[in-house]
Amino acid sequence: MATVRQLNVNGRVYTTEVDSESSLLFVLRDQLDLTGSKYGCGEGQCGACTVLIDGKSRRSCITRVGDVAQRQITTIEGLAQGDHLHPVQQAFLDEGAMQCAYCTSGMIMTAVSLLNSKRDSSAAEIARSMEGNICRCGTQPRIVLAVQRAANAMNESKP
């Protein structure tokens, strides 16, 4: 049984002692006390647990921690630069794109991953990219608006 002794999360090196087969989500939540990533289904169907691995979105609930031990992991807690929110976080606030907000961190991480690679998506393309994330409260229309707003903000700041 291989053991993972070190994890790089949000630019910080954490010393751990976890079975490499463990779910990344539960290591983040139980061991590292990073509870911003949420459990929603445990089968990669709802997206509430989404984190970034080297900048790309990944469902942490079905990710073996051993597979990402050498990679850069980013969770919702690591997105803002000090007090300065990431443009996607700011856009979710500005659009009021949340109700209970339990899905919000996964939505934001999925959107960040999308905008890392593409910032000129149409509303329909954004909706398609977010298809794997569930908002049971039904905030989808505002979430699409928030991602568009964030894309515009990121394009303006880095043309």
């Binding site: 463990s22 939540r29 929603g40 907000a101």
Partner: protein, 720 residues
């Protein structure tokens, strides 16, 4: 509504999950309050008759205890901070924000000065629960009164300090100002060193909605930043030092009994505590994964009773009546005029049966609780819409007086009526008592699907008598199992027979956003469409012919206007439909456009236009968010959500098997919000769902000629 009016405070019949009556134990010494809160001004709101203003000059003349029927209170501290206490809870409906607005409006303080303490049984007044769309009509109003009284108290304090007539003083922006004397004083300075209590209700006039400046305006979620940064801790995120993670052994099927149990292997795993007590078997371990491994190591055999499947459901519900249909002559069990005479003289007669399947709430955060014992004192953090109800459940389960139990409800990952019960809290508390350490239990998605409760299934029979000019003369409706909410018709019909028939439900069922109003409106509004087609009238015109209620007429007309009702079809497979109604103080009408591919059977909802009116709007942005959310949630139950079960097991209890609305399912949504500033504000979270399913069903009929009478309408497309 007169005879058909349901008392605002009555509990809906179908809240099956709420079996125990709420117990009320509240006794607070006012000096305790100030010890806890610090000096300042305290305003309490009571549910009963007025009490005179109580002045505390330290002369000991005042009664030491506060009235027992407190519903809310507000404290202004020496730093000017305002703390509001309410037993209501936040599950995404954004009442933390809308209640803050109400207080800011009446007290004339910035929103940022206000802290809401919600759903903590030790700190907040008793509250029956956050359900039934009661927060806005009741708690919002009470807090406005409390805040208004607080403002007046501050003005009186300033008047006495300056020795001037209070009438020349005004309150604004956290200060009392004397414009004649050109001076002002901050609230904080006024309350310094005071221990002043005032008890409501007072007869202060409230600010009319037409003059609101803070309320009535959009305000973003008050603690939104905590949610976009992951900082907010939901119940499932709660932690304590030395905490263990708990899991519970579930029976092999509903009603199964344990025939043998072997926990030896589980007990060998380091750090694992196994508990077997009565019919409870659970484990606690240092991590979630170890707890899961320990649970798998338990050998258990179960004896399962035979049970029906969803294929036999509707027949079963009609054949298995239960007690509890409510008193005769109640709105959900009455006869007005003579249905028999109406049928005898009718030009047209139509009978139909509609059904709805069980569906699951699927709050994205499954049930979770963290329990901690300190001697015989129990504290539980959990996601529930009834913290006081859960306190009662815990007290009963552990045979404790309620005073020894504290339940706290951190803002939770939604509920939709599905989190009224305290089973997770009890599980965590039982494990924590055995482990002698705090224990957190968080249900898996499969557990949430299986061991919570469902929206009741329904069989609804409607029988109708109609004149050839389209005037309905007789209406008979029978709802089997699902419930009475929304069963009284809002159409003007002289002869009526209405009855709700409780049944023995094969699955555990309970409250769900809008309760049975969704099923009853689906049946009624589908049937209205069938009747309109029978007499070849336009469905809108047909409804208006039978409808006097001005507020309902207004929403039907507003939705139709925005939708462009009566427009010609522009493509093959296009269809238009409408549905609407009244529930929990809200009036709603929805128009739907669908596109049906007759070859593939695929049905796509293209557009939903919903007009809504619930009196004076408190937060237009919050309301729009609720309306859009309600439309999307209702879309799932209308189109494809259904619980499949057999042999006491849920067959599709995972997100990969149970389909929920996703981004690609969301149609173009338009909402028309009618702001009736002349009417009291009502809730909006529930009524806004009820028009969606019939509007879609009627649109599918318009597009295809196929009449669908069972929810969900098209779980596998139209052809099947």
């Amino acid at each position: 509504m007169n005879k058909n009016a349901i008392s605002e405070n009555s509990l809906d019949l179908e809240r099956y999950e709420l079996t125990a009556p709420p117990r009320y134990h509240f006794d607070v010494d006012r000096r305790e309050f100030f010890r806890f809160l610090g000096a300042g001004v305290l305003i309490v709101s009571v549910l009963k008759d007025a009490h005179a203003i109580q002045e505390s000059g330290g002369n000991g003349a005042q009664s030491a205890s506060l009235p027992k029927e407190i519903s809310a209170w507000l404290h202004i501290g020496e730093d000017g901070g305002v703390t509001v206490y309410t037993g209501k809870v936040e599950v995404g409906q954004n009442i933390r924000t809308s209640l803050t607005q109400a207080v800011a409006e009446e007290l004339h303080v910035p929103v940022s000065a206000i802290t809401m303490v919600m759903g903590d049984t030790k700190l907040t007044p008793y509250d029956r629960g956050t359900f039934g769309s009661r927060t806005t009509p009741e708690m919002n109003l009470q807090l406005r009164k409390v805040a208004s009284a607080a403002r007046d108290t501050l003005i009186v304090l300033a008047a006495s300090q300056w020795q001037v007539d209070r009438k020349r003083l005004t309150a604004a922006d956290g200060k009392v100002t004397d414009s004649e004397g050109k001076r002002s004083v901050e609230y904080a300075a006024l309350v310094k060193g005071k221990q002043l209590t005032e008890t409501l209700p007072a007869d202060d006039p409230l600010i009319p909605a037409t003059q609101w400046t803070v309320a009535g305006q959009p305000l973003p979620k008050i603690n939104g930043r905590d949610f976009v940064t992951g900082k907010h801790r939901y119940p499932s995120d709660q932690k304590l030092p030395d905490m263990l993670y708990g899991k519970v052994l579930r029976p092999a099927s509903f009603g199964a009994t344990l025939s043998s149990l072997d926990t030896k292997e589980a007990e060998k795993i380091p750090g694992v505590v196994v508990v077997h007590d009565g019919n409870f078997v659970g484990v606690a371990a240092p991590t979630t994964e170890i707890a899961a491994r320990a649970l798998t190591a338990i050998r258990a055999e179960w004896k399962s009773p035979p049970q029906i499947s969803n294929k036999e459901l509707f027949e079963y519900l009609k054949k298995n009546p239960a007690e509890g249909g409510g008193p005769i002559d109640s709105p959900f069990r009455h006869e007005t005029g003579s249905m028999d005479k109406a049928l005898a003289s009718a030009d047209y007669h139509l009978e139909q049966t509609y059904t709805t399947n069980y569906i699951a709430h699927c709050p994205l955060e499954p049930r979770a609780a963290l329990a901690q014992w300190s001697g015989d004192d129990l504290t539980v953090w959990t996601g529930t819409q009834r913290p006081f109800g859960v306190r009662t459940e815990l007290a009963q389960a552990f045979r404790l007086p309620e005073e020894r139990v504290r339940v706290l409800m951190p803002d939770t990952g939604s509920g939709y009526g599905g989190k009224h019960t305290g089973e997770t809290a009890i599980e965590a508390a039982r494990l924590a008592r055995a482990a002698k350490r705090p224990v957190k239990v968080m249900w898996t998605r499969e557990e949430e699907f299986t061991w919570a409760y469902f929206r009741p299934a329904a069989v609804i029979d409607i029988n109708c008598a109609m004149r050839k000019d389209g005037k309905i003369t007789g209406w008979e409706v029978h709802n089997y199992n699902s419930g009475a909410a929304g069963i009284p018709t809002f159409y003007d019909i002289e002869n009526q027979r209405v009855e709700f028939h409780p049944a023995h439900s094969p699955l555990r069922q309970g409250s769900y956003r809008a309760l049975a109003a969704t099923a009853n409106h689906f049946a009624r509004e589908s049937f209205m469409d069938e009747l309109a087609h029978m007499v070849k009238m336009d469905p809108l015109e047909f409804r208006l012919k039978n409808l006097k209620n001005e507020r309902l007429r207004a929403v039907f007309e507003a939705a139709a206007k925005k939708f462009g009702w009566g427009q010609a079809k522009t493509s093959a497979g296009q269809g238009f439909g409408m549905g609407g109604g009244f529930e929990k103080g809200g009036n709603v009408a929805t128009c739907a456009e669908v596109s049906v591919n007759k070859k593939s059977g695929e049905v796509k909802v293209v557009r939903l236009v919903t007009a809504f009116e619930c009196g004076a709007i408190v937060n237009p942005d919050g309301l729009r968010n609720q309306l859009e959310g309600a439309n999307i949630m209702a879309l799932g139950g209308a189109l494809f959500e259904a619980i499949e079960f057999a042999n006491g097991q849920i067959m599709n209890g995972r997100f990969s098997d149970y389909r929920l609305p996703r981004f690609s399912d969301v149609p173009a949504l338009e909402t028309v919000m009618i702001d009736r500033k002349d009417l009291p504000s009502a809730g909006a979270g529930e009524s806004s769902l009820v028009g969606v399913a019939p509007a879609i069903a009627n649109a599918i009929f318009d597009a295809s000629g196929v009449r669908l009478r069972s929810l969900p309408l098209v779980p596998n497309g139209l052809s099947s």
